[in-house]
Amino acid sequence: MSAARKVLVHVGAPKTGTSFVQDLLFQNQERLAEMGVLYPADRFDAHFLAALDLMELPWGGLEHQAVGAWERLAEQVRRWEGTVIISHEILATASKQHVHRALESFGPDAEVHVVVSVRDLVRQIPAEWQENVKHRRTVAYREFLDRIMDPASTGPVSSWFWGVQDIPEILTRWSSELPGDQVHVVTVPKPGAPRDLLWERFASVFGLEPEEFDTSTVQRANPSLGVAETTFVRQVNQRVNDGVLPNENYRELVRELLAHRTLSGREGAVRLRLPPDARAWATELSGRWVADLGSRGYHLVGSWDDLIPDAEDESPFVDPDTVPAEQLEDVALQSVVTLLLRTTEMRHEVDDAHRRLEQAIAERDQARREVGLVIRAKRSFIRRAESSASLGMMYRVYRKVLRRR
């Protein structure tokens, strides 16, 4: 790795192993720093707030914490004499003007490299709908597909989807101010590939030796939901939106507790796929993308073939818009049990907090008893000083002496 100031900006796309990479980098911050590589983060996804700030994106109230975050991040980048890695998948949706601001903020002497990780559309589309559902949307699967397949659609669903998943456009926006060899495309291997292959590809772009990092400790795999599980969360959304459940509670209880920790990766869950018409359309579009991208001269890590879905590896499509109620029953029961357990835990936390509060009050009262006499005397003097001119004068003199000391 060269000694010059180098900034590697990993801009997504979502659902391409980004959380995994961010967690791995975060867990190895110290080791990376010894190697001259900075991952400036106080949590694994710390660059999320900076990305919100850069792109002026409201995000359910989180944007209040984001104000000024990009400049703070850029300042860390400018101060570091070595390589810096920045990574967040929503950076994929930056406009050319945002990209310009970002690149400029790293300073004139920084050698900026952009890393875009990509996965085939046939896996990305169902995953994106699930992300929509996990972010409180109630749009049905078929409606979602129709909107993204309609080239004239400019609504929020399709504009967000294409903002983060239109790979040629993302690369055009992020590469317009950079030479082609500073633009790296990392493809996500096809299903069945060795577990560490994706990390090896990322590591080669970051200039790291992959085997020096232990990937087994990374928890952030972000497994996807099954068909019935996603439908269940969508139905929950229909009942808790419109002010019923505030965003901060939704994030904790529905997205994290139910979707991520309870319903993801459930045994027997049916994998969500594309219906045949959408699959054919996505396959055809992927082919066009590969033809276009292959001629652009970017540094490819992996294979363009990874973006072309295999024809024979698909099991039948199960429609999440028509899941029978009895298939939701088990999902609902498991969710109720999880919420009951969490409620019990919270009850214990509240009881514990009460106990600590009572203890603190007892200690405070004891302290008051010990110094109470002096304080009461002082307060009584001040009260009398308000109505008595002579005592008031004494009090002012006393304050003046105190200030001088």
């Binding site: 002026e56 949706t93 504009s159 002010g243």
Partner: protein
Amino acid sequence: MTATDENRTHLAAAWVQHLRDGGTTPWQRWVQEPRDGAPATGPVPGAAQLELLRRLNLVSPLPDRVDHVLSRPGPGRGPLHLRLPDKAGVPVAPTNEVLRVAAGVLADLTAQLPPAGPARRRRARRDPDLPSFVVDGLPLTAAETRARLAAAGLPHHRPRFSWLGARPDPGPDLVVVLAGPLDQALRESWSARVQRGAARAWPRFLAHWAGRGHLPASAALDRIVAYWADRLGAENVYLVPLDGSADAVPLVAELLGAGLSSAQVPDAEVPVGEPVRLTPAMVDALRRVNVVLEFVCPEPDRAGRRTALVELMRGDSGRPEPADLPQKRRRWVTTAAAGLVDRLEGSGCRVHGDLATLRLVAPPSGRRVGETEVLDAMVRMIHRVDAALVGGRRNGRGGR
């Protein structure tokens, strides 16, 4: 690139130049009329940015703002770069996209306004024979009433503190809580909150509170009454229900024993920093700006610059009629109003008027505040803020 594509690019480049020069011809007419193209000098800006520039030009060209408008990405979610449409008969850009860019431009300009704060006012002399008072309740109506009473020589109670800070303010002698039908209270509450930086749209504001099952603080008159009753005793709290046409000033004056008619009360502006009555389109424009202002204007001055923007929004010529309640919220508002009246009846405060008026909810008016109306308001504001900035620079004020 095909010959048609090339021709189109040249036409677009000529249109961009036309708009840069202050032109106002819509894209659809531009492509239909035979004209020469121009050599492309760079990428064509986004369709939403171009349409905003055209709309600004319709009022009057702003040559110094052209580059800013054309390079301003739309904040928040939406398409990243809208291309000019190929088909005839479709709008050059959806209005909501033009609005997004306009909100960004207006927020950028607002961030350059000199911050406005509450004006330092001399403590007005109060007639010692009259009780000291506070007017609370409907936020906009109360602010207007306070201003007019002050202009008529009846200043609002202001807390006094002893120089040692040890003696709490005893509070006013009496409190007048101005009340109105709940739909009006909610509108005033929404407007006041937006003027303090809130960003929810009117329908989402209602959905939020309907979902929570209670009312926002400034519309929850029972809680306001309870607060004052707790401090001063219920016998010193007067609840004054107002119907749409009633003037609160003579009613409050009567309670104070001052005897004033509406004709005797001079018009008075609500002081800077207090919530003012804006057209619904302006409130909607402001709440869109609030979202962006957070990112482009640092905290210490944000509130002051927002207040400066609100000052420029006063007296706008847009449609003042209030926005209608969405049909699906009418039931909630009616039920909540009935519950509110029941609680007020049991509050023990003195009621000066007919509490039944608070149960009434205005019938559907069909008044919708459309995106075009909001965009027009936003365009007027961009011009007004630009003029304030230019005027400020001439006078040696303003700028970040």
